[in-house]
Amino acid sequence: MSTLLEQLANGMVLGGTIALIAIGYTMVYGIIQLINFAHGEVFMIGAYGALFAFMWWLPSGMKEDWYVTLPLLLVIGIGVAVGVAVLMERFAYRPLRNAPRLAPLITALGVSVFLQEFVRVFYRCPSPSGGEPSACATSAIGFPEAFVKGGVHVSIGQGFTIPYAGILIIVVSLGLAVALQMYVGRSRMGRAMRATSADPDTARLMGVNPDRTIVITFVIGGALAGVAGVLYGVRYTSVNIDMGFLNGIFAFTAAVLGGIGSIKGAVVGGFAIGLIKTLAGQYMPGGTGYDLVWIFIVLIVVLVFRPQGFFGETERVRA
């Protein structure tokens, strides 16, 4: 019983991160029908950007209290992630907007590999002894634990602890999702997004600037990925450059599961994937070695039998 509860809690924390990334996926796909494979890398770069600023520029006085450090990390992480997302849109995807469908997808793969390697090659940590900075992104780096330490202790059965940082991820992801849902549903820009998604040509005739709308979509997606990256680092206290790819795939699966184009769906899908991963590792044959396999099997089954996901409106025909 306590194991089940603990696994549920773990799944929710992981799911919160995935949900934040999935929103970016789902919005971009909704508006330009592009699987932005590199979106996971934006998440990774958000974390690395914040960490870079933390290591190189933040005066030590600001590293003491989490309520100073965390907002700073978040702001920097969001800034870096948004910057990368916008550059990516401008230089990689925009020129291909009317190209055959394979082209942007292959570009996205290329961007993904490039960003990952870019961080690996150029990232530098200050040397503790004051020598040459070292190329440290080649393996995992510790991330500051910029939040209240400890956690809520649940004393059922053997008892377990849910770290506060994990609760923070769940709360933030739900909060941001609700806020975003309202923004897209009610604001002028949100209407423009929905219009562009439904029919770009007509939207254009109605005075919507599609370029601007698409950029805003990438900005929002990037910002959420930046938040996810920093919170992920704070919760799990280490980052590596492969984390973007893996979580990106999870997030894409989540977006599909929830119904692509739907923010609500992305959130529900994110939590569902988090839960599938932990529960499959716990209860399925093969154990934790096969948890990825179960996620992919779910993905295939959903795509084959219910491609519109939980909340997808209608089945879109994509050629």
Binding site: Q33, I35, A92, P95, L96, A99, P100, R101, L102, A103, P104, L105, I106, T107, L109, G110, V111, S112, V113, F114, L115, Q116, E117, F118, R120, V121, F122, F245, I249, F252, T253, V256, G286, G289, Y290, L292, V293, F296, I297, L299, I300, L303, V304, F305, P307, V317, R318, A319
Partner: protein, 620 residues
């Protein structure tokens, strides 16, 4: 090479390429400048070839082609990149004064070649020499030849563009068969020579040839110029037309050329190993090409089929850890090949079955999921068949008529390097695969695939059984990959799950995309580039994947049809017809002609007709 040096190289390259293309653009059709610029460019190129390039002997040993040579020391000892430059300079001058059709395009090509050669050598001398001093002036000696070469490149490109880029000249193609055969024979022999030269240029690297990277890049620059010039004067198009006319003969000659490669300078056991790896990947890429290039179904988990073939072959081999070998005993390789093909084909059909319901990007994700499931299951040693993290090691080499394939053989007094039998095997395999591919492409099913690629609903409406056709595409593609996997297992002598990661699938896809989707030479060329470039450019080892990612982006942006485009693809991606004309222009021409006809029909043939057509277009 440090990150800073790497960045310098990339930025310098981008800036120079931009400069040259700007020069070409600005100079377009300013005929007055054409001749002076060409003369200046040609002369400068020759001068650059004769003057010193480096101010001193670099720490790693003298830079190749006697770069510190002064003109008066030994004018006739030009070698390597300096000989290439001198040749280009002379040819450019000849083109300037002799009216050869297509010469402006050729001069432009030469200019690019001169520019690239100069840039590569300037950059690498500067980097290996520790600064700009190595290519300008240091300690009393000067060397400005590199910069002369750079300027000459700009001038030649500008001259070519200024002269007016003419349509590529058509050479007579109705030749007597014997002459055509002779031409083809010569050109394929030339191709063989180019391949062998490319592979051996710069040596094997390492301390014995420290400048292998720049020498190879410089040689590529030479190829750029050479092919540019030959393309410009219409020779390449002529040869390709001839080879289309005599398809069977060309195939046979090409096969003979491939078989002849071990007898050239490239016939070392090292290049044979590389060639076999290229072959394995090329065969797999051709399989992928059926799925992606012909049927338009994006597969990004394709390496799994290679893996399935490899694991099946490993299990059937006599390896000590092979489970199946015991009860069955040793299986002849031919049968192994067939079994691998069948098993991979079955898996292909399984992976392909979601295509019945899933389309486009979603399908790509499904294939990615299958690929990852395969890798993860192999890592977890599913059913005890993959050896898990310990892999299936010590797979014995293929042995036929008591001749193990990994030993050197001697045939008629010539000793061929070890691995050459694998090479012959893979050449044979690729020949078969090509035959299958070519026949399928023009068959009923091939046309069905292409129809599905263009518009699935329309294809279905035309009576094509799209579901069956799509699964068949996966099945055939996977079969080819499975056969390649069998060779892979024996040649590599171990099969481990980590040879079949996601990145390998992307590499395969990149090979197809780089070479050109839907074509055989494209897949082979793409696979070759992706294997040969990292081997040759050890300086860039650390940046290999970064450049790989960047290359994918740039190809999709600037040349989505690939290096050897398929005709239909060219139309789709680049808006060009098979002869390289812009579709827009062709359409406009057609409209004009049509209007002319209309005008003629109205007013009768007369001088008014063209004017009418012209007016119709110029209407504000």
């Amino acid at each position: 090479m440090s990150p800073l040096e790497f960045t310098t190289v990339v930025v310098a390259f981008a800036v120079y390429v931009w400069l040259v293309s700007q020069a070409g653009k600005q100079a377009t059709d300013r005929t007055v400048f054409a001749r002076p610029a060409a003369v200046a460019g040609g002369v400068l190129t020759i001068v650059a070839a004769l003057l010193p390039w480096a101010t001193f002997v670099l720490n790693d040993g003298p830079y190749p082609a006697k770069s510190t040579l002064q003109f008066f020391d030994a004018p006739f000892e030009l070698g390597g990149f300096r000989a290439h430059l001198a040749l280009f300079g002379i040819v450019a001058l000849v083109f300037t004064f002799v009216r050869i059709p297509g010469r402006n395009r050729a001069i432009r090509g030469l200019g690019w070649g001169v520019g690239v050669i100069s840039l590569v050598n300037v950059l690498f001398i500067a980097i290996n020499g520790g600064g700009i001093g190595a290519v300008t002036a240091a300690e009393g000696s000067t060397a400005f030849a590199g910069f002369l070469g750079l300027i000459a490149g700009v001038l030649l490109v500008a001259a070519g563009s200024a002269g007016g880029i003419e349509p590529i000249p058509q050479w007579p193609t109705k030749l007597p068969t014997a002459v055509a055969f002779l031409v083809l024979l010569l050109s394929f022999a030339g191709l063989l020579w180019v391949v062998a030269e490319t592979l051996t240029s710069g040596g094997l690297g390492g301390p014995s040839s420290p400048y292998a990277g720049p020498e190879f890049l410089s040689y590529l620059g030479f190829l750029v110029g050479l092919l540019g010039a030959l393309y410009g004067i219409g020779l390449l198009r002529w040869i390709s037309t001839l080879s289309e006319q005599h398809r069977v003969f060309s195939m046979i000659v090409l096969l003979l050329c491939a078989v002849a490669l071990p007898f050239t300078d490239a016939g070392t056991d090292y290049w044979m190993t590389v060639a076999v790896n290229i072959g394995v990947y090329a065969a797999t890429a051709i399989g992928l090409n059926i799925v992606v290039g012909l049927a338009g179904l994006l597969d990004i988990g394709y390496v799994a089929f290679l893996g399935i073939g490899a694991f099946v072959a490993a299990q059937l081999s006599g390896a000590a850890s092979a489970k199946l070998a015991g009860p069955i005993g040793e299986v002849p390789f031919i049968i192994v090949l067939v079994i691998c093909a069948v098993v991979a084909g079955i898996f292909g059909a399984i992976v392909g079955s979601p295509t019945l319901r899933v389309r486009g990007d979603y399908l790509a994700i499904v294939t990615l999921a299958f690929g990852e499931i395969f890798r993860k299951s192999a890592q977890e040693n599913i059913g005890g068949l993959t050896g898990g993290a310990n892999a299936v090691p010590n797979i014995p080499p293929i042995s036929l008529f008591d001749q193990p394939f990994n030993e050197p053989i001697s045939a008629g007094g010539v000793v061929l390097p070890s691995g050459v039998l694998y090479y012959f095997l893979i050449v044979l395999l690729i020949a078969v695969v090509m035959l299958v591919f070519a026949n399928l492409k023009d068959s009923r099913i091939g046309r069905a695939w292409m129809a599905i690629r263009e518009d699935e609903d329309a294809a279905r409406a035309m009576g094509i059984k799209t579901g069956k056709a799509k699964i068949l595409a996966f099945l055939v593609g996977a079969t080819l990959a499975g056969m390649a996997g069998a060779v892979f297992a024996h040649k590599t002598s171990t099969v481990a799950y980590d040879s079949f990661q996601f990145l390998e699938s992307v590499t395969l896809l990149a090979a197809v995309v780089l070479g050109g989707m839907g074509t055989i030479p494209g897949a082979v060329l793409g696979a070759s580039l992706l294997f040969v470039l990292p081997e040759k450019l050890r300086e860039f080892n650390e940046y290999r994947l970064m450049m790989f990612g960047l290359a994918l982006v740039l190809i999709m942006r600037f040349r989505p049809q690939g290096l050897v485009p398929d005709r239909v693809r060219r139309a789709e991606f680049a808006g060009e017809t098979a002869t390289g004309e812009s579709i827009e222009q062709v359409q406009e021409k057609a409209v004009v002609e049509h209007e002319q006809e209309l005008a003629e029909a109205e007013t009768g043939p007369g001088p008014a007709a063209p004017a009418g057509g012209g007016e119709g277009r110029a209407r504000p």
